[in-house]
Symmetry: none
Subunit: 531 residues, 2 copies
């Protein structure tokens, strides 16, 4: 039996996290995520429910040979035995043994109404199921953690029974009993009270498992820890059913940076942003920009008021050093910004404007003028860098000379989809090119035609891919007459960049953002213009 | 001076929420959001900082004539006067008066290091600035709220000074002093302690303003209320700088449904989902599926193990009744939730579906299918009514028969604006018409051509005006290849209506929304089709 550390973080991304809507993990995905979680330094990784589905059975089999955990211990998840059977004879319990993990986590009912209505057995038999299954697995050399499902709701309805569940599991040899707010409806003061009362009433070692239905999963987890829980469950990025589970990135960062409890080595915490984003590449869930600590916006400042003071002392305006979680402060350029923010932004991009006040002033004026017309640079770093480069070098970077372009969209008037066709005439790579592209919309067609036209002169473009395309109608009160802003995000496999275009004509705005996107990508690769 | 209610919610979406990365609101956007917030029932709406930027000055001017608030009181936001001047002579303070709101919210420094390093004045002068500005505005008949910036960090560093700031503001006549966790680094126990101590030390009426940097904005707000704060600030959907502000939807839902404190009328809370989503259409920020209470996934259950138990008693598996916030449980595919809301909406529009279960079921299925494809009827009542009418009458209302349309957009490649030209061929008023329209964008050209084509058959169209046009790229991860949703608002001087179109091609989606808009407008006027 492995020793269970005094205080630890227990990750359930691969089991409870995978319940998230539209999240679907292959066995290979799960192995990749487990390796990242190990790097983060979590204590335990719950791999899935062996026997319940073939994917999870395969995961544990492959994990034994393919997963080299440096730090974390793998746990198999399952439930207490069926009513009226023996744990030793229950195939579901045997599948837990077959997973060959040091730790088995058992889910058990602790709410008497759930025992009757969902499990359809007696409260006595439920206790017998817990006693039998826990002691059988402990006898087989496993450390057993018990997830007391619906514990908080159950405790409110029938506290005596909920306590009896905890006592029974502890007496049978469970190392930890995790109290689960399965429906996620709790608030911190209730969690504090219940954890305190259960500790007092049972002397058992307790854990906590929270969901975010009241927006309090993190605070509830911390409240349980303050009340004496020493095992904290959660998922990376807060993945999970409904509103998700407690986000382990935030929970660990708070415990470590706010409460001084070293949960993972500081070097591992510095990888939090990298690991959070790497895992979101695997899950294919777009990272949430406002995620605490590791979100793209978590240390981004927009207000001009702040930016001037930020220069004096960044700690006045940030709650912690972003480097501790691998993040960094970003200044957003916007019409709320003054010169200070633009200087800071330029510095981030490698341009020092502080000694050239004319240049700085000129850039600020140009940004403010453009933003007045509807441009926005806080979401378009690449376009801002091109603008800055123009001001610094005094010339516009052009990889090709456009002669003209034209797009035709037509429809037979029925329900069939419309097709768009774009024709571009330009000079690049020493010759005049006329190219045509089709698409299911005008911008799509334009993108295809432009790639076609530039393919010979700039084969590098083949790596570029449009990742995101957003359209905003500004001053919408003018109806279809209004100004249009298009934001484009482009990637090349190693990174991504955002550009912006503004024009009354949506197609023209898209063209501007598209040209900036290609220009910035080529510049970033060090490609020289081939006219 | 208006009376300030005992306990209230103060919304700062239009000021602090607008600090969110890539969120950029026009004056028209702000007016639309304010109207939605008023529907939600918040007590106060902070409109912006008049004088600090021309947009906010214009907002207050237009709000006076255009914004008809039923419930909320508008507040202007600004700062205490400059050091060494008189409040009465400070142009920034005068701009606050010029905004002509009942309430003015002043931001003031309460952290002595910020006074020295950011404000660059003395702690004594900072107190004088607070005293002078508050009493001047109170003397001018305003209720004054004071935002004590960086209060929690300041209180930790120099509690005596932080308390003095609160006492000074209260003595000068401020109705509420809101303690701000400006950097967002607090956890609930700290908030509880500080609010309790400040209440005891000052007897002032306190408010709370939280950011979500530790993932605890909601819990911190509730902790402050439990400790005695009676004014809660936040933003809709938690918009705001960095990780955002406390999400008012979650805060209000928790206060009302978990803590039994009636903050808004229950009927208003039932609109929470609708209003949250309507505002995200205005901000063009994609709604967060895992948002508590109103997120698309907030009451979504992955089918399987619990399905039968869910049928027996859904309350066993949900922390609150989703209908209370206008949401619904998503596993129960078989109508109930969906049908109820569609019947309700139909009733609003004058159709009674309750006695025709076939019709209701058919409509639900069609709406669900369309929403699956990206349509949204929340923000497009007119398109919904046309759909409903189709189901009720069994026929599609058509004022003309489209043969075909074609749009050409071209550009000389330079900086000159692109022109679009649309040609439409259709039958109306007994004859075939071929009409051409020009515009500064494809949709604008299409609108002009369609009006031209229908001018003889339907002179009523001359009164119609497009007042809003919004584009949302769905499934944006496909880049320019994705599905496009277009929402159009049309007015005729007596009212306005919204329609929706969805298609891969943005022009085609616009065409669908445009045709619905003309059709609904003619129907509403009682015009018979003239084929």
């Amino acid at each position: 039996m492995s020793t269970v550390p005094d205080f630890h973080v227990y990750d359930t991304t691969l089991r409870d996290g995978a319940q998230q809507e539209s999240l679907n993990l292959s066995v290979t995905d799960k192995l990749a995520i487990a390796a990242y979680l190990d790097q983060l330094g979590v204590g335990f990784i719950e791999g899935g429910w062996p026997g319940a589905n073939p994917k999870d059975t395969e995961f544990f089999a492959r994990a034994r040979s393919e997963l080299k955990l440096q730090h974390a211990t793998l746990a198999a998840f399952g439930s207490t035995r069926r009513a009226g059977a023996r744990a030793a004879d229950d195939p579901q319990v045997r599948a837990l043994l077959d997973a060959q993990t040091d730790v088995v986590t058992l889910v058990a009912k602790s709410h008497s109404r759930h025992v009757a209505e969902a499990l359809r057995t007696t409260v006595e038999e439920n206790l017998a199921m817990i006693e039998d299954t826990v002691s059988f697995l402990v006898g087989e050399g496993r450390s057993v953690f018990l997830d007391a499902e619906h514990f908080f709701d159950g405790y409110r309805t029938d506290p005596a029974y909920a306590l009896e569940v905890v006592r029974t599991a502890a007496a049978a040899g469970a190392s930890v009993i995790a109290l689960c707010d399965t429906n996620g409806g709790m608030l911190p003061p209730q969690v504090t009270d219940v954890v305190g009362e259960v500790l007092e009433g049972t002397q058992a070692r307790l854990g906590i498992h929270c969901h975010n239905d009241t927006g309090c999963a993190v605070a509830n987890s911390l409240a349980a820890v303050a009340a004496g829980a020493s095992h904290v469950q959660g998922t990376i990025n807060g993945y999970g059913e409904r509103t998700g589970n407690a986000d382990l990135v935030t929970v660990v960062s708070n415990l470590q940076l706010k409460l001084g409890r070293e949960v993972v080595a500081p070097d591992r915490l510095r990888q939090a942003l990298h690991l959070s984003h790497a895992i979101s590449e695997v899950t294919n869930v777009v990272p949430y920009g406002r995620q605490p600590y590791v979100g793209a916006s978590a240390f981004a400042h927009k207000a001009g008021l702040h930016a001037s003071a930020l220069k004096v002392d960044p700690d006045l305006y940030q709650h912690t050093d972003p480097a501790l979680v691998g993040n960094s402060m970003r200044t957003l350029v916007s019409d709320m910004a003054g010169r200070a923010s633009i200087e800071l932004k330029a510095k981030e991009l490698g341009y020092d404007l502080t000694h050239d006040t004319d240049l700085a002033a000129r850039t600020v004026t140009r940004v403010k003028d453009l933003e007045q017309q509807g441009w926005t640079f806080d979401a378009a770093d690449a376009s801002f860098e091109l603008l800055l480069r123009e001001e610094v070098t005094g010339e516009t970077l052009q990889y090709f000379d456009t002669e003209s372009w034209r797009i035709i969209t037509d429809s037979s008037g029925g329900a069939q989809p419309s097709l768009s066709e774009a024709t571009i005439k330009l000079r690049a790579g020493g010759r005049r090119v006329v190219a045509t592209g089709e698409g299911n919309g005008p911008v799509n067609a334009l993108d295809h035609a432009l790639r076609e036209a530039l393919a010979d002169a700039y084969p590098e473009l083949a790596d570029f891919e449009l990742i995101d395309f957003r359209v905003r109608i500004l001053d919408a009160s003018h109806g279809t007459d209004a100004t249009t802003r298009v934001l484009i995000e482009t990637g090349d496999g190693t990174g991504s960049w955002q550009t912006v275009g503004v024009a009354p004509n949506i197609v023209h705005a898209s063209w501007v953002a598209l040209v900036d996107s290609f220009t910035y990508g080529l510049l970033k690769r060090g490609v020289e213009p081939r006219h």
